[in-house]
């Protein structure tokens, strides 16, 4: 066979890189997009369960009960968050999502006995009304943040950063800043809105401790306080959050999604969720805080298998954002309206993309009506349809989770443990700190 040198692509300067450089040179602007990292990173897919056989005793798949109840924020709050399942819905703003979607999230979460979370832009009446358990985010921007909504919250989440853009602030491009969004955020309608990346009223962890106390005072020490961080220097950050008084620490790995940020953030910052989780657990263990402080992990959780592996590695619960949107219809080729299915491919084409490839949340022109404030597009997803799809999805995740837990011989999903796992690759074994499959070898730990 003859090699064709005339069509040999450069590894360093492949078509993707050439197109990136060309666009940068054409426009003088960097790429902004939605969703999370598209590159391949070690993930929960690289772990496997060692389910029961002779040495362990499985539970009957359909007959024996497997507990999924989850309690978060037991440290000092009068009313900890009590959930039926350890799968929660991550903070996503009204503004990036339509009001219909926020309502759908609340309804599905309530039906499944779990929590949903506000986002940059504040709490909408629709989501408070539809959500039995609502976590209210305290973000650097403080858009719409007010004491009345704070007192209506079932938990408060102080956001220091998120996995898609640790160290960066939020963005909402002008086409999504309609009259209602602008009013909630006290901004002029239609501007390209850039959120702060640092909180306005405190800076370091010592100040955070006092801030947490202030929020406790305002809410009469009633609700738990979460601290959410993007996964970077996880071990140090978790320790500082615990020292500052967090009841729950939320770590968002680099696969976590966003509605809009610079591509360079999404692909080049933070560490994978798989690497972050064991570091967070290690920090809690070193502080002897595992009983007092709960750990939520997020960033690329898609299946019941992912949930089970996260719990086995030491998380108390997971939080899901991007996969929730996909369950609602993100990147689907059709949408349901008035009981009829419509083809959305031409609307994807208008954005220069196709179903399966879309990351155009930042445009506000979501072909399936999820990440939009457009009055025509938002009708493509009603709260009823959204809530049904989401409830189905959460149910599947929970069934998969309990299936794996029973097969490991656990009558409670929180009894899953690291010893139930092995890794398929050396990288995953080193990050998750579990043995490479078929060996006793944990890279960096043991010499065998």
């Amino acid at each position: 066979m003859t090699r064709s040198f005339s069509h040999e692509e450069s590894a360093g300067y492949n078509r993707h890189t050439i197109s990136y450089i060309r666009q940068a040179a054409d426009c003088g602007l960097y790429d902004i997009r939605g969703m999370g990292a598209k590159r391949t990173v070690p993930s929960f897919d690289d772990l496997l369960f060692l389910t029961a056989s002779a040495s362990r005793y499985p539970l009957e798949g359909y007959r024996e009960r497997c507990e999924t109840k989850t309690v978060l924020g037991k440290r000092v709050a009068k009313n900890p968050v009590e959930l039926e399942i350890p799968i929660t819905i991550a903070g996503m703003s009204f503004g990036s999502l339509s009001a219909n979607v926020k309502e759908a999230l609340g309804r599905a979460a309530t039906e499944m006995g779990t929590s949903t979370t506000t986002g940059d832009g504040g709490m909408t009446p629709e989501e408070r009304e539809s959500s039995k358990t609502l976590v209210y985010q305290c973000l650097p921007s403080r858009y719409g943040f007010n004491p009345d909504d704070l007192r209506k919250a079932d938990a408060i989440e102080i956001v220091l950063g998120q996995g898609a853009k640790p160290g960066g602030g939020g963005m909402l491009l002008g086409q999504k800043v309609n009259a209602r969004v602008a009013e909630m955020r006290t901004l002029p309608e239609g501007i390209d809105q850039r959120s702060a990346c640092r909180h306005p009223d405190w800076t370091g962890p010592d100040d955070l401790r006092i801030k947490i106390e202030e929020l406790r005072e305002i809410t009469d020490w009633r609700v738990p306080i979460y601290v959410k961080m993007g996964a970077t220097r996880v071990r140090d950050d978790v320790k500082l959050a615990v020292k500052a008084g967090a009841d729950v620490v939320v770590i968002d790995g680099m696969q976590g999604g966003t509605a809009a940020t610079q591509q360079v953030f999404i692909e080049h910052t933070g560490i994978p969720t798989l690497a972050a989780l064991p570091l967070a657990v290690q920090a809690l263990e070193e502080m002897d805080a595992c009983e007092d402080v709960q750990l939520i992990i997020s960033g690329g959780i898609r299946s019941g298998g992912d949930v089970a592996k996260a719990l086995a590695l030491g998380a108390d619960a997971v939080s899901i954002g991007q996969a929730i949107l996909i369950a609602l219809g993100c990147n689907h080729d059709t949408y349901l309206q008035n009981g009829q299915e419509f083809d959305a491919t031409s609307d994807y084409e208008k954005l220069g993309t196709a179903p399966g490839y879309c990351h155009h949340c930042h445009t506000g022109l979501c072909p399936v009506g999820i990440t939009t404030q457009d009055p025509v597009l938002e009708k493509r997803l009603t709260p009823e349809v959204g809530a049904r799809r989401l409830r189905n999805y959460l149910q599947v995740l929970n069934m998969e989770l309990t299936t794996l837990a029973r097969a490991c011989g656990k009558s409670n999903v929180h009894h899953l443990e690291k010893e139930d796992l092995v890794a398929l690759t050396v990288e995953a074994a080193a990050m998750a700190k579990v043995p490479l499959a078929g060996t006793d070898w944990i890279p960096g730990r043991s010499s065998t």
Binding site: N146, D201, I210, I218
Partner: protein, 230 residues
């Protein structure tokens, strides 16, 4: 029923006093509450939502009168960081000086600092009014969205950096203004606004002495010519 209720933080915790202010004040008949020995403690009178006057009799710590609604809180001393953060309504007055981030993210109401305020005074403000009798530090009114910051003294570097629709008035020397903010002519409506704020704060200066800083609005849109692909 006493019209004035007194608490001594040398004897009680901040939590006990705040519990009273949140739950027992209404219906108690107290129209004024005096808090003794604040001694740098934090979060005193945070989260009030009542028509009451609260006097804090000394120097206090961080987050004093945070998220205030309706109440009129006076601190008879200096305060630490973030006094009246996220104030919604009512009045918070500091008789002494205020440390960083005074009235950060304030949505409404009036905050008066009779002395100086440190850096980031009025950061992220969203509709409140702030009057500072002395000077403010760097990055004051950073990303301020709405409301008015009036400074009777000097301002530090980068005043009003990344300003949205908030307006700043400065009486004495302005060091540099920040990105996207600029000096604008003081018009009759501005003079009236300055006079209103000075009168509300109980300060006597001529409105004509003030300079106005507002947003140049050049950062409101990144670049509309490239179909939002940036």
């Amino acid at each position: 029923m006493d019209a004035v209720k007194q608490f001594d933080l040398a004897q009680l915790t901040v939590r006990e006093v705040n519990q009273y202010l949140h739950h027992e004040l209404s219906g108690s008949g107290a129209a004024r509450v005096e808090i003794l020995h604040p001694d740098g403690m934090h979060s005193i009178a945070a989260g009030l939502d009542a028509d009451v006057a609260v006097d804090i009799m000394g120097h206090a710590g961080y987050f004093i009168a945070g998220m205030n609604k309706r109440a009129s809180v006076t601190i008879h001393g200096n305060v630490g960081w973030s006094v009246a953060e996220n104030i919604m309504s009512g009045v918070v007055r500091v008789k002494g000086h205020a440390s960083e981030s005074a009235a950060a993210s304030g949505h409404g109401g009036l905050v008066v600092i009779e002395g100086n305020a440190s850096s980031r005074c009025g950061i992220s403000m969203k509709g409140c009014d702030i009057v500072v009798g002395g000077s403010v530090g760097h990055f004051s009114a950073f990303m301020a969205q709405a409301g008015t910051l009036l400074v009777c003294g000097d301002t530090g570097p980068n005043l009003g950096d990344s300003l949205y629709e908030a307006v700043i008035y400065v009486r004495c020397t302005m060091h540099c203004v920040g990105a996207d903010s600029r000096e604008e002519p003081l018009e009759a409506a501005d003079e009236a606004e300055v006079a209103r704020l000075l009168s509300a704060a109980g300060m006597e200066f001529s409105p004509r002495e003030f300079k106005k800083v507002a947003s140049a609005r050049s950062l409101y849109h990144w670049n509309a010519d490239v179909h939002q692909e940036y």
